[in-house]
Symmetry: C2
Subunit: 402 residues, 2 copies
């Protein structure tokens, strides 16, 4: 094992990460539970939507020509010859010249009519309706297939479904929808200094915060985290738990172990039973990251510091998950803001600085990558590309929001 | 029942909506599943975090004074007198003047040392370590309680927990955390024109898209939707399903029924068995909305058009859900953008226009509120306040993102 890492750039690391993504699997879920999921196959309208010319207001179906010139002072007087009932189509209900028919919102426009006058612009005088405002051809009518045409493409594959999309799917007759399956991501915590969350840390010990953080992020991002607890830095125990996790998971994260010994064991186990593709990335924080593969499954060795692990999760692991999640674009939300302070950076590595966003300003939250409090006090990350020696105060930056 | 609605402003409607919010209930969930939930009670650190002075790098613990002036040409030569083991504290391991001790990342800083030199700036010559860069007091060390002090407030109640917060909670010994319970929201679809998603619509019929849309949104927003299917516009059947839903839900949404008859039945049932607080809101789309209460539970009559129902859900129902979800601020995400076109609006009502956001531009997606396709092609809503007669092209607006 080399004493120093053979560091690769972020773009190369991401390429390696995405390259080993297992193929996206699909599953079928109820449409009400589909929001946030990636659509696996395109959806076409199975019928015209709507399937008939529909009134979009409560009012009177008319021939628009009969309302020309109508006003408060001189309303058009049209006898009401019927009422449209909801949910049926009455072929015998016809609007002739100088007649009207009452129509509720959503009702089928009767034959002969070409527009609807809102009830607010009418008055009743017995069976005669006083129309006090003219309407034009098609006014207040949703035409057959105006929303979607039968056979037309409604939603494209890879789209992350919104709640409104769920409505569209329902309108297209999809009670169930095929989406990308949630990847199962195993989390194995390593490090002799780690104790479980429920333990009181003894001298030199810390609670395993990273596993909970990673699991919570993965859940929110649409994956299924699976926690395998803490293994001590003994190669046999380590291998045993990895080989327990591999068949149960699509991806395995080894949540370090911040020390070099831990990282060496991690790299040794991956190299011994699979292959190490990347060991060391030009990213700060997060340099001592490992990307590997065992039995065809991606295995990441994450750095031990919480902030480092989190940055690597977002910058390096996420693109692989995006691929597995079948997403056409990442779920990451960004916001533009202006830097409130200079951020120094080292040329040659991509640097991620935590920032708080306030009134359009990005306020750097500098701090050691071992700290959790800067993660909590910040709203997101600003990336300083490898070619820069820092960014200047006032510069507009894109903040990757948590 | 009045023929015309007695319209109130949006702010008043929201006030009525929030006023009838049932008290927030709490539940305890595993910390890994807590992201997105609102913290019910403040969290304090149960120990200092970290509980000891910790190295943040792999290197050599030293007395910083011994490194003064060290460089490549003239390194400080310090005999290495021991190694720090991870996860324990060795009281006998002491760094004296002109000595050093190997320390891995995360190790306990040994007595006598006040800084750590990164291994990258050292060389070995047998037992002698060549220190080629000076360090200052405290350098590369995370001090005891630097992250959080025992008894200090770590997270405040009402905070929507992030994945990083889950890490902090774990560090504070919380394997389980008490959060606001997810409100159960019943959805009853009404309207003689509606048929289930799985049916082929006959003449005059449409599939019930709104229920799926509402349920998907509610799930994503952290509620538990419960679907009660479609009831026809018959008062008895309607009442029966409402009284089935009320004991099972915290809030009930009546998903209209776009016609005036439907709305009248809805208002009649609420008024007959409870109270109607608001009937008609100065909002577009969404005017014919009902806010009521039956047996102490909020009951909303939503408009029938998908876009109208969605706007009312976000503008009027959401603030009530925020209260029940225990959130200190809404989950709504916004982005600033410049209007690509003029948006006309009617003074006296709050108007919501769907927009697509592209390269910092908000492009209005005009269309009848009966359309689903404008909801799908848009990324969010722009609100035009009641006091405006539209907004001009180029103006910076805040887009409420889906």
């Amino acid at each position: 094992m080399n004493r120093f890492l053979n560091v690769v750039g972020v773009a190369d690391a991401v390429r390696e990460s995405v390259k080993i993504a297992p193929a996206t699997e699909t599953e079928t879920v109820p449409v009400e539970q589909s929001a946030g999921r990636a659509l696996a196959a395109g959806i076409e309208a199975d019928t015209d939507i709507p399937g008939f010319d529909r009134s979009v207001v409560d009012g009177y179906a008319v021939r628009s020509a009969d309302t020309t010139g109508a006003g408060d002072a001189l309303p058009a007087l049209l006898p009401c010859v019927g009422r449209v009932a909801m949910g049926t189509s009455d072929r015998k209900l016809v609007v002739q010249d100088n007649e009207c028919v009452y129509i509720p919102t959503g009702g089928v426009l009767p034959e002969g009519a070409d527009a609807v006058v809102m009830v607010e612009y009418t008055d009743e005088a017995g069976d005669i309706i006083l129309i006090k405002k003219p309407v034009s051809h098609g006014e207040n009518v949703l035409l057959r297939d105006e929303d979607f045409k039968k056979g037309g493409i409604v939603l494209r594959p890879g789209r992350r479904l919104t709640p409104q999309d769920a409505g569209v799917l329902a309108a297209c007759g999809c009670a169930m929808v095929t989406v990308a399956k949630k990847p199962v991501v195993g989390i194995i915590s390593t490090g002799n200094e780690l104790v479980p969350v429920t333990a009181i840390p003894g001298p030199g010990q810390v609670r395993d915060a990273n596993a909970s953080m990673l699991a919570a992020w993965l859940s929110e991002y649409g994956c299924i985290p699976r926690l395998y607890g803490i293994v001590k830095d003994e190669r046999e125990a380590f291998e045993a738990i990895i080989f327990k996790a591999l068949p149960e998971c699509d991806v395995v994260l080894l949540s370090g172990g911040s020390s070099k010994d831990d990282r060496d064991i991690t790299a040794g186990v991956i190299a011994g039973r699979g292959e190490v593709l990347v060991h060391g990335i030009a990213i700060a924080p997060g340099k001592p990251t490992i990307i590997g593969r065992i039995e065809g499954k991606p295995v990441f060795g994450l750095p031990g510091h919480p902030a480092s692990a989190f940055v690597v999760l977002i910058a390096i692991v996420r693109p692989l998950l995006d691929r597995m999640l079948g997403l056409e674009k990442p779920l990451i939300r960004t916001v533009k803001a202006n830097l409130e302070e200079n951020i120094p950076s080292q040329r040659g590595r991509e640097e991620y600085v935590r920032v708080r966003v306030e009134n359009g300003k990005a306020i750097p939250q500098f701090g050691k990558s071992g700290l959790l409090n800067t993660l909590v006090s910040s709203d997101g990350l600003v990336c300083i590309p490898a070619g820069y020696e820092g960014l200047e105060k006032g510069r507009e930056v894109e903040v990757i929001l948590w």
